[in-house]
């Protein structure tokens, strides 16, 4: 199998500098069929084996469905990287600029918004942290799948949530942009059990409310407050599930009676 190659840091620094300092750079991200790498650019090898052909990623009118399908495709293409590998911005910047250049341009077509937009979606948001990997056009897809694929395989206490669809929770996570943001940009979203239980409850109550984004936002805020005084992760799994479910049910009910 071929191996994934990556752009060296020096080359990426030049590309980033170009975005930050040259107003013409955004034309490349708007109009070019491929990123113009210098002729003497030398790629670095990695240990990541990839299929001979990258998947065709979908870009249409149903972003929620397409994002989920694309997340599964990217995850299956790259495989289960370890977390340190997957936190390396060189990998994602390379995939955004070379392998999936066309997809990135179509999915994020507003490069004329400025350097911040390009840096977020083609590179990595400056400062790192929880939001950084969530923004890159490709890393967001891989991380979404990696954090949600068959959680019952990693935590036996979640076996009652087992589904024939190994990516059931990937689809829930990407079903609303607000859920994706609320889960991946909050610290609690880094815990497998809490993340899965929360997604399961949101999935159950989303069809019962008219404003799904609002439900996710309210839950996120209340959960943050609750976690300050009560460590849900220290509770027996069923108790954690009951508590999260009650929280979501109450917020859904309040929204419907308001």
């Amino acid at each position: 199998m071929p191996i994934q190659t990556i752009l060296p840091n020096t080359q990426l620094a030049d590309m980033r500098h170009r975005v930050e300092s040259e107003s013409t750079a955004m034309q490349i991200y708007m109009n070019s069929d491929q990123y113009p790498l210098p002729a003497d650019n030398r790629m670095l090898n990695t240990l990541i084996e990839i299929p001979a052909h990258p998947p065709e990623l979908l870009v249409g009118n149903d972003r929620a469905v397409e994002d989920a399908e694309n997340a599964i495709k990217i995850f299956e293409y790259l495989g289960p990287l370890n977390r340190t590998q997957a936190a390396d911005p060189r990998l994602w910047a390379t995939l955004s600029h070379i392998t999936f250049w066309e997809y990135c341009r179509k999915r994020w077509p507003e490069a004329n918004k400025g350097s911040g937009y390009i840096l977020e979606h083609w590179f990595e948001r400056p400062g790192g942290g929880l939001g950084a990997l969530r923004r890159n056009a490709i890393s967001r897809l891989w991380w979404a799948a990696n954090l949600t694929v068959a959680p019952w395989d990693s935590d036996l206490q979640l076996s009652h949530l087992k589904s024939s669809d190994r990516f059931k929770f990937t689809r829930i996570l990407l079903s609303q942009a607000q859920i994706f943001q609320d889960v991946l940009e909050r610290e609690y979203g880094s815990n497998l059990r809490l993340r899965t239980i929360l997604l399961n409850s949101l999935h159950a109550y989303m069809p019962k409310v008219s404003n799904r984004d609002k439900l996710s936002k309210v839950i996120s805020m209340r959960l943050l407050l609750l976690l300050k005084e009560r460590h849900l992760e220290s509770l027996p799994p069923l108790e954690m599930e009951k508590l999260v479910d009650t929280l979501v049910a109450r917020a859904a009910e309040q929204q419907n009676t308001a």
């Binding site: 199998m1 071929p2 191996i3 990556i6 030398r42 670095l44 090898n45 990695t46 240990l47 990541i48 084996e49 370890n82 977390r83 340190t84 590998q85 997957a86 936190a87 390396d88 060189r90 990998l91 790192g128 942290g129 929880l130 990997l133 991380w143 954090l147 991946l184 610290e187 609690y188 979203g189 880094s190 815990n191 300050k228 005084e229 009560r230 460590h231 849900l232 992760e233 220290s234 509770l235 108790e239």
Partner: protein
Amino acid sequence: MASNKISYPHPVLGNGDDISVGEISPTVAYKISDEAIHLTFENLTTYHSEIDQMLEKGDAVWHLRIQCSRTYMRENFSANNSTFDIRLKGEDYEGIVDVDITVVAKKDIPDYHPKGLHDDYEEENFQLCVGEVIGIAPTFKFLVDKVYDPLKAPVSSLVRITQGEHDCGPFTLTLDDDLIIVRLSKSDWNEYAGIRDRVPTIIHSAIVVPALAEAILHINEHKDSLWGGRLNDLLQANEISVDAPLAAAQEILASPITRTFNEVNATLDNGEI
């Protein structure tokens, strides 16, 4: 170390002046290698007789939370004793790692009224639910900065290839150093310098595999060395047996021979040779 002061619905030891008796000031020692992170918690005590008694009886428990924003990792551990060891997989952490140490209720407590309460609380009793915070320690942080390139095998954290003093002939191996030192003859070094970044998997197969296998064969004599500790962590973390050193070396380097064939084939297909 950062101190805490937030508003809880009940008094919390370590939160400002909520409770004047007792103190939570554990020590956390870190041993970080690319392969594993060892955390040792000592002095897990509150110096508050009632809360310590709750910990002893199992009515409360130490809750240790390890969080790494960079890798979306958040693990939780429970401890009952005054010392506690945690071993984390090195590959799961990168960058700043936060360690939160708290005491939480292990069962519902209907009439919580610890001694030393601030006067503002007067004679009030509090009802605590399981999981609610009873005490907090200052937050600890540490930095995990990988020595090796995470997208490559962890070779550079174990093996260093240098120029030897001999003009030609086979490479030599030194294990009595921080890293496994491979010394190439001067003529081989010149060749190596020109290709090491272009064909890394071939270098793995030709030089690092035998060097690592030899090192694994002698690992018990070098467990205290830097490379010995790292290699031992790596072997344990991946449950690799040292009984077959050559196979172990290949496993650590993630099938270097297969990758070499792939690399050579790809290079030949591209007409670069």
